[in-house]
């Protein structure tokens, strides 16, 4: 059923359809509307779940960890500092192989404090052992949550999944969304049957101390599972298409006008909407440009990226996050994907933009295409304001 709906409300609706048993969250902008809605749904009796109002994100993550360990489908959402405060538990959840699903409403990191969108928060947690999927629009954000539960609870996976959606741009944006019907959701996402749980009928211990004889194999197991998850994601997306009549290829990457392109921008999340429009405009002018959108950032789909870009001479990577003092996060992966390969772009330039909510406009994208020349650049910031860079301290 198509609805004109705010992103956050749409997420709350789809979570309701997934029927988690335990929800716990701590309010943080711009995630707040999601959990407010869920609290209301619980209060109205429309959602039969326990909503635990915790005193911090650390406890929010711990509560869903406990709930999931008890064998119940769980949900939490957070953003920015909240995700960082959870970080310890985030790693723990993956290590304990609990199929938690979390929404990250992407937002910049302090200091300076800034509540607006970039992707620094979830990207900083890329090594946690979670699957990270980035939505371009609210339709995807909604669909990805269903896929997230299916993947997380898959017996071959049993790992947490983070659905990342750009804060404000998506969470507070109104769009027409085709909301999945409950019967179809039930068909696609059966009730959660845990592989292991805390139950006095069959007592087990979870979270044991693993000494040097055992620890490494647990990390290796997660690594292997994540690599295999790339295939499972394609498989699950085909099932999803069959039930809901969508057209996701494999949920790893999206290729937009890349086939014959000379220049391709690689990006992730909602900014890809803007880039597609810029590509269309340039194509109308006869320029062979394209977009490669990363959908799944962890595990990273190196092989798919390679196939998609191996014949493109120039690639620009646009990161909405920065690894201070090093190459930008997605740029690193792109360079790694082609290193030592026979084919691949001659130039992989890296740009950083949109930090702390600065708009990435059509002009910004044109600027990137313009600066994508034979001379490779690294972590080149776009849309800087020169007048703010004049003041110098310490001289």
């Amino acid at each position: 059923m198509r609805e004109f709906i705010e992103g956050s409300h749409a997420i709350a609706q789809i979570i309701k359809a997934c029927q988690p048993g335990v929800i716990s969250a701590y309010p943080i902008t711009p995630q707040t509307h999601i959990v407010e809605d869920l609290a209301q749904l619980v209060a109205n009796g429309e959602l039969k779940a326990q909503f635990v109002n915790v005193e911090s994100e650390h406890s929010a993550a711990s509560v869903v960890l406990g709930g999931s360990a008890t064998g119940v489908r769980v949900y939490t959402a957070t953003s920015s500092q909240g995700l960082f405060y959870m970080q310890e538990v985030v790693f723990n959840i993956a290590g304990m192989r609990l199929p938690v699903v979390m929404t990250c409403a992407n937002r910049a990191i302090s200091a300076p404090i800034n509540i607006w969108n970039d992707q620094q928060d979830s990207i900083s947690l890329r090594d946690a052992g979670w699957v990270q999927i980035y939505a371009e629009d609210n339709q995807e954000a909604v669909d990805f949550h269903l896929i997230a539960y299916r993947l997380a609870e898959d017996k071959r996976v049993m790992l947490p999944v983070m659905v990342c959606m750009d804060g404000f741009i998506l969470t507070h944006g109104m769009e027409t969304v085709d909301m999945p019907e409950q019967e179809k959701v039930n068909k696609f996402l059966p009730n959660y049957k845990p592989l292991y749980k805390l139950d006095p009928a069959e007592p087990i211990s979870m979270g044991l101390l693993a000494d040097p004889d055992y620890y490494m194999e647990t990390r290796f197991a997660i690594q292997e599972t994540l690599k295999a998850s790339l295939g499972y994601l394609s498989e699950i997306s085909q099932e999803f298409n069959a039930v809901f009549g969508r057209d996701y290829k494999d949920l790893l990457i999206e290729e937009y006008q890349t086939k014959d392109a000379d220049k391709v921008i690689v990006a992730m999340g909602s900014v890809c909407g803007t880039i597609k429009e810029a590509v269309d405009q340039q194509r109308a002018k006869g320029k062979k440009v394209g977009l490669l959108r990363i959908i799944t950032y962890r595990p990273f789909p190196y092989a798919r990226v390679y196939e998609a870009l191996k014949d493109v001479p120039r690639v620009a990577v646009l990161d909405k996050a920065v690894s201070l003092g090093a190459y930008a996060p997605i740029a690193v992966e792109m360079k790694a994907a082609f290193y030592g390969k026979k084919k691949g772009p001659k130039v992989i330039s890296s740009f950083v933009g949109g930090l702390g909510g600065r708009d990435i406009t059509l002009e910004s994208i044109d600027e990137i295409f313009r600066r994508l020349t034979a001379k490779e650049v690294n972590s080149d910031f776009i849309d800087l304001k020169p007048e703010l860079l004049k003041e110098e301290y310490g001289k």
Binding site: V54, H58, S62, L198, P200, E202, S205, D211
Partner: protein, 660 residues
């Protein structure tokens, strides 16, 4: 204690750990229908080391500080599943993970009103137990494995000749945390890792020569015959005593010299004498006083008097109760022998293990004269000094005696013991041993040879393995021994520890992060009032309990789980390592904390004080002097006064004084 299905033995808690006992009481009181969320800490580490667990109830550990939140999630999930009414949820942690880093999660859990019991095991600092020492047979006697250096001579099996050989130690390896098993035979027990090889008898069938094979511990089956040390006579020699500088008349404080001859090396007579000394003797070196608590008429008195005259060429004085052999020089001499001082600290020094058989036997005879008695053919040695018993057991093993395990018993307060009534319950132990009967190998040569293939071997015998049990995970050391990769060790375990200050560390406690020194008398603040903080959340039940009062703890846990809503119980649990008291003093120390008023046991129901353990207050000094962590205070009446004030305030606040 029999094994508990809910908290199984075999975990790696230190000896005398109050937390292990309290944790077991808590889970047993709560029952099988319990789910536990545990913070990181000693309890978590020693009870659940992959791939093993001590817990018979569903149990989860996530992080250092979030058990209250994890338990909140479990409780929420149980409500969702409609199972909360039949399952108790317990969150638990140590004092650091409760009062410091985990306070926020705990506060949230209390304020949200979850139906969870939170148990804080309060050992008053950050402890991290674990590390292992074994006692190893070396050329110079019994040594701790940690004391062994490269180049030391280590006793080993020669795999070809099956003889006892001395090999050079070429390395001490830190093996890290390993799963450790205890292998027991009738007379021996040893702890080792699963891959540690033991020499096992292999019977090759009729008419064929039996051989020995190395089997790793995990391959050994009950009934296999393992090679054990029988005796060490071959290389044993008398011990050369250290020469002392003799005092003379006119030396400081010496105005009368009791002329005595000091022996140059050990002999059976002096060993018997020292055996009696270990049992009944004392010395005050400064005053040159050597005394023996041997009442007139006791057999040992005559023997001692005779020995003294014979060895030292000197006379003893005596009264009805005691025998005195006062001599400054004798006192200095005995001081060099490392026999230890005081009933609790006397020990069998390393050199005794290397003595010839007859001298060791004389030593044991002396011990038996003081503190032993016969039961039929078996002898029984009694002592309150458990370390002494452990060492005696090893000594007897090197004599090829049949030695039973150490039995531990408690004498109740008031029991008459050496003509006095005991002032408190006191723990003591005993071991039984007997000489092996000589087998009539001439009459039944093949039978006995079948039973013990090594019957003619001077050093080793084979003994049937009676059990192999996992003892959980312990840090292990291994020795690299030149040529042979084996050494003779007994798995006596002692632990090292961290001990950093927490929010529940008491005032003036010496910890590694609140050390006492010239400008500090230890921790500068009193304990954070956790029970009051919890009480302020308006929760229905708050109580303090102690590992020293197990029934009270059990009752409080049962009461707590019968109440719906958040509950908080704080249990005082002694930590022998961190508090530095003897491992067998866990109960008395815990009790004294309560009896001095320093750890009041009270309970609040719905904000009202409904129960308290009343006491006839003892001075706090009695508690402080039991523990090394307060040692620096004992000569500081000003600080003791401040601590007495804390106790007095508790006594007043909770009305603890027992009305007569």
């Amino acid at each position: 204690m029999e094994n508990s299905p809910l908290f199984k033995s075999g975990h790696t808690a230190c000896a005398g750990c109050g937390q292990a006992i309290a944790a077991r009481l808590v889970v047993e009181a709560s029952g099988a229908n319990t789910i536990i969320a545990n913070n990181t800490g000693c309890l978590e580490v020693f009870s659940t080391k992959y791939p093993e667990t001590a817990w018979g109830v569903p149990w989860i550990h996530s992080l250092f500080e979030n058990s209250a939140a994890v338990a909140s999630g479990i409780e929420a999930a149980l409500i969702y599943l409609g199972k909360k009414d039949t399952i108790n949820v317990i969150a638990q942690g140590g004092d650091g993970s409760t009062a410091d880093i985990g306070l926020q999660a705990l506060s949230g859990m209390l304020e949200r009103g979850h139906d969870i019991l939170y148990v804080c095991y309060d050992n008053e600092a950050y402890m991290n137990c674990l590390s292992l020492d074994s006692l190893v047979m070396t050329k110079d006697g019994l040594k701790k494995i940690t004391e062994i250096k490269i180049g030391d001579g280590i006793y080993a099996f020669d795999q070809n000749t099956h003889q006892l050989v001395i090999k050079e130690c070429s390395g001490v390896l830190d093996n890290g945390l390993k799963e450790v098993f205890e292998l027991k035979t009738l007379h021996h027990s040893i702890k080792a890792t699963a891959n540690h090889p033991f020499l096992i008898l292999k019977r090759n069938g009729r008419g064929k020569q039996n051989t020995f094979v190395w089997k790793t511990l995990e391959e050994i089956k009950i009934g296999d015959r393992v090679v054990t040390l029988k005796g060490m006579n071959g290389d044993c020699r008398p011990f050369k005593f250290q020469e002392i500088k003799k005092a003379e008349k006119g030396d400081y404080k010496v105005n009368n010299i009791n002329a005595i001859n000091l022996p140059r090396e050990s002999n059976p007579g002096i060993m018997k004498y020292l055996g009696i000394f270990i049992g009944d003797g004392w010395r005050r070196k400064g005053r040159g006083e050597i005394g023996f608590a041997l009442p007139a008429g006791k057999k040992a008195r005559n023997i001692l008097t005779g020995l003294h005259e014979k060895i030292f060429g000197s006379k003893v004085t005596s009264d009805e109760q005691y025998v005195y052999a006062n001599s400054v020089n004798l006192a200095s001499f005995i001081d060099t022998l490392e026999l230890g001082q005081g009933a609790k600290h006397k020990t069998i020094p390393a050199w005794v293990f290397m003595l010839p058989q007859e001298q060791k036997e004389a030593f044991v005879e002396g011990l038996m004269l003081a503190d032993g008695y016969d039961r039929g053919t078996s002898k029984r040695y009694v002592s309150a000094n458990l370390d002494l018993l452990k060492r005696l057991r090893l000594l007897l093993q090197t004599l090829d005696y049949r030695v039973g395990k150490i039995h531990i018993q408690v004498k109740k307060k008031g029991t008459i013991c050496v003509r006095r009534a005991l002032l408190k319950d006191s723990e003591y132990g005993y071991i039984c041993f007997s000489k092996r009967e000589k087998w009539n190998t001439e009459k039944y040569p093949s039978q006995y040879r079948y039973q013990d293939f090594l019957i003619d071997n001077k050093f080793f015998r084979t003994e049937e393995v009676t059990s192999v049990e996992s003892k959980g995970v312990e840090p292990t050391l291994d020795l690299r021994v030149e040529g042979e990769h084996n050494f003779i060790a007994d798995g006596i375990v002692v632990h090292n520890t961290g001990v950093q200050r927490s929010g529940l560390t008491p005032f003036d406690t010496n910890t590694t992060t609140s050390p006492s020194g010239a400008r500090s008398s230890g921790n500068i603040r009193p304990k954070k009032p956790m029970p009051e903080i919890c009480l302020a959340h308006g929760i229905p039940y708050v109580a303090c309990a102690s590992a020293g009062f197990p029934q009270d703890l059990t009752r409080k846990v049962k009461k707590a789980i019968s109440i719906k809503g958040p509950k908080y119980i704080q249990v005082h649990v002694p930590c022998p390592l961190g508090w530095r008291h003897e491992t067998n003093q866990m109960l008395p120390v815990a009790k004294l904390a309560v009896e001095t008023g320093l750890y009041p046991l009270f309970e609040y129901e719905n904000g009202v004080l409904t129960g308290r353990k009343q006491i006839t207050p003892k001075p706090v000094e009695e508690y402080l002097k039991t523990q090394g962590r307060f040692k620096h205070l004992l000569n500081n009446p000003e600080e003791i006064k401040k601590i007495q004030e804390i106790a007095d305030n508790n006594i007043k606040k909770y009305n603890l004084r027992l009305e007569v």
